[in-house]
Amino acid sequence: MATRTPNQKAWWLVAPVVALVAFNAVLPLMAVVNYSVQETFGNNQFFFEGVKWFDEVLHSQRFRDALLRQLLFTAIVLAIELPLGVAIALAMPRKGLGLSLCLVLMAMPLLIPWNVVGAMWNIFALPDVGLLGRALNELGFDYNYTRQPVSAWFTLVAMDVWHWTSLVVLLAFAGLSAIPDAYYQAARIDGASRWAIFRHIELPKMKHVLTIAVLLRFMDSFMIYTEAVVLTGGGPGNATTLLSIDLVKIALGQFDLGPAAAMSLIYFLIILLLSWVYYTVMTRGATS
């Protein structure tokens, strides 16, 4: 790695980046903080209210329900996507035409606009004209994601798994590809079983990429909005109203600036905190 020389003039090189990102990050966040501690009665007059909104949000049943739903959703998708992604990466061909084909086809869901993902699953899961919906009903399940919360959850989870597992697969595959042959050769000589090879060679060597995968999936699933909204709109009722959906309803739908702002900050902080905790735990003791 190149050694870096001290040079304060480098600030000129980063100035445009700082300007653009700060414009988009700092100004809006300042506004959010502002709103979160003030009350307006709609006539553009603001009154300082301190922590009133934070208090209200943290104690509101609505927020807690949305948070719980969100935690449940994230937990479920992580529990499915991570092992599934790793399993697929392990089973993929390692080179040749098969590999190219796999990579191209698996990457497709990642490049589809998120609203189209939602729309696609919306149609796909329709109980009468959608392939999945029709099939499930023919098989005897009483399936209608617009009416039943369980069906809605099932469809939401299935859609997320469909959408994002490939990311885990690609990351895990990259990690696997970097393992030198000699490890596998030594394991053959040591008479190791397939499971032992996975447990003692592959899994430890994939730790770095899996950490990235968990972090990315955790953050993105925690922020999910577009696909979910297009699929279920948060319903039936508010059965699938996850945090982002609820926040947008309050902010853009009801224009409740104060509560929306307070909720925004709490939301952001939760993600930052959980990410930081996870990252520290994972990289503790490891020298990169």
């Binding site: 000699a182 050769q185 000589i189 040591d190 008479g191 190791a192 032992a196 003692h200 430890p204």
Partner: protein, 355 residues
């Protein structure tokens, strides 16, 4: 224990090998007897690692068969072959302790815990790993990790041969010597067959009783270090072994005697050439060349010092000839005559020794 027999082994990495160049090793016939220390020596790409992997079972040969003690093992998996292999860079199971690393091959084969403990401790003592036995393997230095790799091989009682694939490559230079001595000591103590692949002649010649020199997928010569040194069967062996390498000079043969530059060169026995040889050469090591009152006329170009002796670079026409002189010997200033020791001068036809 193990008599390893390679019978007409040929291997190609391509599915349908067409030309000579597609074969990594060709028609190898070798026998390794029990308990010997062998080196597979040769330049990069000569096929030595391929051969090693064929012996250990990591590769299945395209043609030919391999027998251990008369049993055909050509189709057997590495785990079933009573061999162990140490690789170029240390392979350890990072998440396990040194103890667990050494115990791994035994546990995979279902050995009882008490026996495992006994074996692991015994081998750890032999390799001086006992103090680190319960630390994580990932924390050891490169040579420590290589010892663990070695230990995983030694720990199995059924192991008949240990194969080494350039194991000192990533070891610090000052530790290489230590590890090499350790290997030699282990060999004498444990009596296993050891086959050591390297491109470094010093390693090969100091470690092995028998050296197999390979070039382009063929075995060029197999013999003791002394044999390789004194009577190289191929000019490549002459070049590769010894520092500096053998002098190779073009010659012609008339009436059973070689002539270089019009001057007759004495050899121990008359030369009988094989039928259609194209390229004839004389080979003589710098150690066996000396200044004389008559012989090959040369111009002295320069003298380099190589520690124990000096190398004199001379030239006859456009052919360089090197010879070694002791430190205090005198050297003619500009011109002189060289004589070659007849017992150590060989004639080569198309690279291969004649007679």
């Amino acid at each position: 224990m193990a008599l390893i027999h390679l019978d007409r082994i040929s291997h190609s990495y391509r599915a349908a090998p067409a030309s000579d160049a597609d074969w990594a090793v060709r028609d190898i016939d070798l026998e390794w007897s029990d308990g010997g220390a062998y080196a597979l020596l040769g330049p990069s790409g000569c096929g030595k690692t391929t051969l090693l992997n064929l012996i250990s079972g990591l590769l299945r040969p395209t043609r030919g068969s391999i027998r251990f003690d008369g049993r055909d093992v050509t189709m057997r998996e590495p785990g079933e072959r009573n061999i162990a292999q140490v690789f170029q860079f240390p392979v350890v199971y990072d998440t396990m302790t040194v103890y667990d690393n050494l115990a791994f091959p035994l546990r995979n084969r279902g050995m009882a815990a008490a026996q495992v403990k006994h074996r692991v401790e015994e081998i750890a003592a032999m390799l001086e790993l006992t103090p680190t036995l319960h630390s994580r393997a990932a924390g050891l230095t490169a040579d420590g990790k290589q010892k663990i790799s070695l230990g995983r091989g030694l720990v199995r009682a059924d192991v008949a041969a240990i194969l080494f694939d350039e194991p000192l490559t990533v070891i610090d230079p000052h530790l290489k010597w230590q590890l090499r001595s350790k290997l030699k000591e282990l060999h004498q103590r444990v009596g296993l067959t050891m086959i050591y692949v390297t491109h470094d002649q010093t390693e090969a010649l100091t470690f092995a009783d028998q050296v197999v020199v390979m070039l382009d997928g063929h075995v060029v010569q197999a013999g003791t270090p002394v044999e390789l040194f004194e009577r190289p069967r191929h000019t490549f062996v002459g070049h590769f072994i010894g520092s500096p390498g053998m002098n190779v000079l073009p010659c012609e043969v008339r009436d059973g005697a070689p002539r270089f530059g019009g001057i007759a060169i004495e050899t121990a026995a008359p030369v009988r050439l094989p039928a259609a040889s194209q390229r004839l050469e004389i080979g003589v090591r710098p150690e066996f060349v000396r200044f004389a009152k008559a012989g090959v006329p040369v111009q002295v170009e320069r003298v380099t010092d190589s520690g124990r002796f000096r190398i004199v670079h001379t030239r006859h026409g456009e052919h360089p000839i090197k010879l070694l002189i002791a430190d205090n010997a005198s050297i003619p200033a500009e011109r002189g005559f060289l004589a070659f020791d007849p017992r150590r001068t060989q004639v080569y036809a198309d690279g291969w020794i004649v007679n």
